[in-house]
Symmetry: none
Subunit: 212 residues, 4 copies
């Protein structure tokens, strides 16, 4: 991916007609297909257009450049995961720590593991998109959501909720990624799901104890 960085990542035109919406989604979906079948390295705009059943020209009508396309795909995924995570957080407000962590972590792992192939492919996109700030902003949002949830744990006062939330997120996301990339067997995923809960539960409790 050559030349300039981050020219315009915004979609070029907002599809108003139904037909266009279909096209836009077909392209995004095709991008994922190509990602899975060919890898990032071999994902080309032409190839994506082909898979989507449109011409390159059409692709460029909706996405100003390749980065914007990749970005849109990544964003959709992140949005989905973030939404699931947020919901789980909100549902957990006021629960005791153990239940809260269990609910949230399982929601996250399940979201990521639903399509491990897609998740992995998207890690590569994220790397490719590197500095792009929006990727981080997604993290920010989740960060705040978790932070707010942690503040509702009954009878607990964390020393530094902000940091604790950050740490929990990093563990959750980082560990999951690591397992995924090392080649996740179903058994391993199951273990991860259970022990990531354990991990965060004991961590948060020790944070609390520590605080006391």
């Amino acid at each position: 991916m050559p030349v300039e960085m981050q020219s315009t990542l915004e979609p070029r035109k907002t599809p108003v007609q139904a037909r266009s919406t279909v096209t836009v989604e077909a392209i995004a979906e095709a991008a994922i297909q190509v990602l899975l079948s060919h890898g990032v390295e071999r994902l080309t705009t032409t190839r994506v257009a082909e898979r989507a059943g449109v011409s390159v020209g059409t692709l460029y009508q909706y996405y100003p450049n390749k980065q914007a396309l990749l970005f849109a795909v990544l964003e959709a995924h992140l949005d989905k995961v973030t939404a699931l995570l947020s919901r789980a957080c909100e549902e957990s407000h006021g629960l005791p720590i153990k239940a809260m962590v269990k609910h949230v972590i399982e929601a996250f792992v399940d979201a990521k593991m639903e399509r491990t192939d897609v998740s992995m492919a998207l890690y590569k996109i994220a790397a490719e998109l590197g500095g792009v700030k929006v990727v981080r902003s997604v993290g920010e949002r989740s960060h705040r959501t978790i932070e707010q949830m942690l503040m509702t744990v009954p009878g607990v006062q964390f020393e530094d909720v902000k940091f604790t939330a950050r740490m929990m997120m990093a563990t959750m996301a980082g560990t999951t990624r690591n397992v995924l990339e090392a080649g996740a067997t179903p058994a391993l995923v199951k273990g991860l799901r259970k022990h990531l809960v354990l991990l965060c539960q004991s961590y948060l409790q020790s944070c609390n104890a520590h605080a006391v």
Copy 2:
């Protein structure tokens, strides 16, 4: 007219004269420099050769292709980190859990954080090299080292040491990476260093409790 293909990652020729040893290292070093200054995407063999003060031809005398170069650089880094980790593990044999974890985790975080820029750049290489098995094999080695260490904790019998070791590694490496990639301020790194210890300590203890 090309015709053939050879996808070896092995260095092409072992330098016999003193002069060439210098060259080989200059190239590897230059690769890191370019990685940092331009990013993976803009790392070209020509650019690396230029930076190293040699011609492309020379580069290709020692590395059969670009991948091999990147691989060599990554391998050197991984070897270093692995070596430090192994040492810490061996030094910790027989220590009580808390001390053991503290020693090992701190060694790992320090190794990774010594040059955050290099570490981050190498994550991208690792992504690029994707499937390459050797990357995984490094993980395997560390895995065994940690497993063996865990078996020496006095008075503790883990339900499934293999998995526990795997989990600890994933947490250690994954969380560190996540923090790094989200943009690590020195303060954050300090917090990570401390809390990653906490995290693993409490996890291992709860694993143990669980077993009982």
Copy 3:
């Protein structure tokens, strides 16, 4: 970073718009021009594209690689010669040996000599393409055509028609090539045309006699 390999000689895409048909032919023609003016050794895809008045990229839209281009050019030539030869063979069914040979040989020599420069240039391509089977398959076809023709000679039964046909072809093609490559003056070509007929006539007759 390359990674894959595809060594198809098949044209990459069939032109659908009128414009591109023109382009494809311009490129093939340019290839011959370059072949004549620079020689195989100095025929580069860039040079061909330049001569054709298009960009390299365009060339690669229609020919997946250099070999495919050379192959296409060679094939066109061989097809033409083969077609002329086949026609002459068919027209000669049932003729007495002398007339038959005269008709066929003259058709062949005339086809090859129409553009001696092109013929010679293509010998080099054929060498370059070496093993490529299609080159041989052209020979096969002609072989059968000649064999079938020989079986129609009235009052003659060859001992081993298959071999006789093979021998006749080898003589016809080989001798012509030899003369061509040794530097064919018009006078020499004229002599060849006449004596190659003589050669094959007397050979076939002696084969027949031999059989009797």
Copy 4:
């Protein structure tokens, strides 16, 4: 093979010491080996040197450039074949046509077929060396040898001996080459050996008859 044509094809230095002679021959032999195992396209000076067990530098001490090396190899082969042919011609002076042709043709075919692989590889070199005049001059010599032989046939006066000799040579060499390149099975070679004799015998006789 780039840049200039035909700078100097003469060996750079005439080896005076025994050791050098050995080296020179080892290199020439290695060139043939590489030719057979890798093909012309992949014959590089470095590869030849390696195979010969010397350094490239050494190779360049004896051959001023790659062309000169190839040329030397080709020349050696041609010289050998030419010598055998000449001897056969001289031995045949004064014989009747049939015996003469049989002796000469069989000598030629046997010489070429002794190492079909080498013969074929050398055709490619000859193509590569293209215009180089010395290749032709070898032909000239043989031409004269044959011509002189033909003039000794008892009781025969050819209309145009020069041309007849040329034609015989072209047939002999061309047909052999054609069979060789189309993939010569031992059976085919045997047939060629016999029928090439037949071919030339009947041709020469009909030439003679013609003259009368």
